[in-house]
Amino acid sequence: MKVKNLLESTDFYLISDNSGIKNEVNGIYSCDLLSHVMGFASEKNILITVLNNINVLGVASLLDLSCVIFSHKIQVNEAIIIKSNELNIPLIGTKLTTSETVISLYNLGVPN
C-alpha cells in the first residue's frame, strides 16, 4: 500500500504537494510525544499526531516514516509544509479524531 491509496478515502486530504505520495505504508503509529515516536515508531509507518511542529518532520525523516497525518483538522504552518516537500514526507489532514483516524486507516487496509 502507498500513501496515495489513503487519499482515495474522503476522510483524508493532502496538505503538502505530491512529493512522496508513492511512499510505501506498512503500519500506524500515533503519539504526540516525540521521544515515544523515536522509540517505538518503525520505518514506513504512518504517524498520526496533533503536534503542529517542525520537529515532527525531523523525527519522521530520521525514522523514514511514510507520511504524517494531522488529526482534529489541525492547521499546519507553512514552514512545516515547505520542509515536508523537501523531505518527500507527505502531510495529510483529516477532521477525524486520532482514534477515528486509526479506525479509518484500518478499514482502508493499512496493517497495524
Binding site: L34, S35, M38, G39, L63
Partner: protein, 145 residues
C-alpha cells in the same frame, strides 16, 4: 573506511535545528553500508542526546567519531547540570520546560531511550555542565551483506 570525526555546536533552545547532528550522522552511517536497524538505534541515541542539550542546557558541543568498529559520541554542555542522575534515568521523570513540552518533548524518555540503544553510556554532571559519553559497537552483522 576512513575514520569520520566531527564536532558540532548545539545552541540553547534552538529547536528548529534540533536533529541536525542525528541527521548528518545517519547520512554518514548509510554511506558506510550499515544496516537500517543499526542506523535507527544510533540515530535514536544521538537525537535524544541532542534534544536534551537543546532543551535543558545553556548550549554545548557534540563530538562524533566513527570507525569501522564503533561509534563514539560525547555531548558536553555548559550547565546547569542534572540535580539527580538517578531520577533523570527513570522513565517518565521530567524537568522539561513548557517550551520543550509544547514542542513535543519532555516525556521523560530521553535518557532511558539512550541507555536502551547504546552499548556504553557514561553520564556525569555538575552545575558547570553535563557530559554524556555513548558508544555503539559495530560488528560484522551490522553491515549490509
Amino acid at each position: 573506511m576512513e575514520p569520520f570525526a566531527r564536532d558540532y555546536n548545539i545552541e540553547k533552545h534552538d529547536l528548529t535545528n534540533a536533529g541536525t547532528i542525528a541527521s548528518l550522522t545517519k547520512r554518514e552511517l548509510k554511506k558506510r553500508g550499515l544496516t537500517r536497524d543499526f542506523i535507527k538505534k544510533v540515530t535514536i541515541g544521538i537525537y535524544e542526546a541532542e534534544i536534551n542539550v537543546v532543551i535543558h542546557s545553556y548550549g554545548g558541543i557534540a563530538a562524533i567519531s566513527i570507525t569501522d568498529d564503533s561509534i563514539e559520541v560525547t555531548f558536553t554542555d555548559k550547565g546547569p547540570g542534572i540535580n539527580s542522575i538517578d531520577d533523570a534515568m527513570m522513565a517518565g521523570f521530567s524537568t522539561a520546560s513548557s517550551l520543550a513540552i509544547e514542542n513535543g518533548f519532555g516525556a521523560g524518555m530521553g535518557l532511558p531511550n539512550i541507555k536502551a540503544v547504546s552499548d556504553k553510556m557514561v553520564l556525569t554532571s555538575s552545575k558547570e555542565g553535563t557530559r554524556l559519553y555513548l558508544k555503539f559497537d559495530i560488528s560484522s552483522d551490522n553491515y549490509e551483506s
